[in-house]
Amino acid sequence: MDTSFNLWILLMPFVGALVGLTYMGIGRRIIARVQHRYGPPIFQNIVDVLKLYSKKTAITHGVMFHLAPTLAITGTISTLMFLPILTGPHGIYLFSFKGDLILLMYIMVFGCLAMALGAGQSGNPNSAIGVSRGLSQMVGYEAPFVIAMVTLMVQFNTTSVHDIIKAQDSFVHWNMFQSPFAFIAALFAFLGFMGNKPFDVVIAPAEIASGPPSEFGGKYLALMQTNRGMFAFVKLVLYVDLFMGGAANFVSLLAKTFFFYLIPLFVGIVNPRFRTEQAITFFWKWPTVIGLLGFLMVIL
């Protein structure tokens, strides 16, 4: 138990990154198929990251720029450490008994803040614009997200992720069925979280040259891409834990996370991009109202 615990702690970041990057590869493939293309191999993103790691030079704009990817990945790995990955008797809990949902909600921001700082120091106005848009949009999708989270926490009268998982012991008790409004609100927020279209105004490549990471290259970009994959994994696992009662083994974990991955992907394929204030007002309208309906369900 103890060795496997330690082993998982060491392995989990890599697993997370690999899973996340593979999902992204699959996502690219699916998009290609929708566009009648053949598409890249599903491990394309891993290859990309490897290539970036193998870059021979990198430039830095200063200490924050240098530290930002490191700090970002620190934040993501730390989040991962406080997240129950697998539940049940053979679960992978890592340190998740030492923190609760509120911690997760806040520690997730750590990495984002670090990235924002690094982007800021790059001195590229596009980066700053991207950060400004990203943070603004975050306030937008945070509304339905917070509402959903609070609904869950109040519904089960706990802030512990474990207890929330425990309460969803069978298929019918999954929160996506038990509190559907909160789930829908959270799903809308998830669209914003994942930063796919239509909510990708942050990185908008054709407009602000990929925004925050525009000055990062080589090893920095490699770390950031790893981080991106891992962070996607973290978010997916969190949603699985909260709404699908966690997963007992890797197969079901992959299935469930992939289900969640597909939702923003499909939404993104068929939608153009929102402007920032459009995105914010969008999130503050229907998702919030739906979330509040969820409240009513819980309160009544």
Binding site: A32, Q35, Y38, Q44
Partner: protein
């Protein structure tokens, strides 16, 4: 010899990864830029070779020079090239980049791109069709695999020569130094 083995394995992986992940800087110059969209989109789908567009030079691997280069543009291209991270590759599109093409006697375009930037591969044609472009990419991949696509090293080694050539055409040279 153990270290060599490790290094060699790393090199193999690196070459493989570089070969299969070519991020192209979307920097359209000249008329060839119009060939890029069909190359990237559904019809020819360059993405299946791991070729995608990137917005900034810091992230990109391949610089496409899609046609003639005015002197003014050359300055920007040099700047962009120098901002890219090694290893980096330059692809010259069409005859304009090879010998000036139809602009051979123009007063403000350059004739041989090779004099100013280390071109790894030229694609013949005026303009090359998307098939030609993809073919060029595959050739580039081969060169990368065999370790021959080292224009960036050449630029580094012969910086003096390149600078002289560049300064010859660019009169108001106000560029930061390129120091590794």
């Amino acid at each position: 010899m153990k270290e060599d083995w490790g290094k060699e394995a790393g090199n193999i992986i690196a070459r493989w990864a570089r070969k299969h992940s070519l991020w192209v800087l979307a920097y359209g110059t000249g008329c060839g830029a119009i060939e890029i969209p069909p190359t990237m989109t559904s019809r020819y789908d360059a993405e299946r070779f791991g070729i995608t567009g990137m917005a900034t030079p810091r992230q990109a691997d391949v610089l496409l020079i899609t046609g003639y280069l005015a002197v003014k543009t050359l300055k920007r291209v040099i700047r962009t090239y120098e901002q890219m991270q090694s290893p980096k590759y330059v692809m010259g599109f069409g005859s304009c980049t090879i010998n000036g093409g139809m602009y051979w006697d123009s007063y403000n375009t350059i004739k041989r791109l090779d004099d100013y930037l280390p071109v790894d591969i030229f694609i013949n044609g005026c303009m090359p069709r998307p098939e030609g472009v993809i073919d060029g990419f595959i050739e580039l991949q081969k060169l990368i695999d065999s370790g021959q696509a080292n224009g960036w090293k050449k630029y580094q080694d012969n910086l003096e020569w390149y600078r002289t050539n560049q300064k010859k055409v660019i009169k108001n040279w106000k560029m930061p130094d390129y120091n590794w």
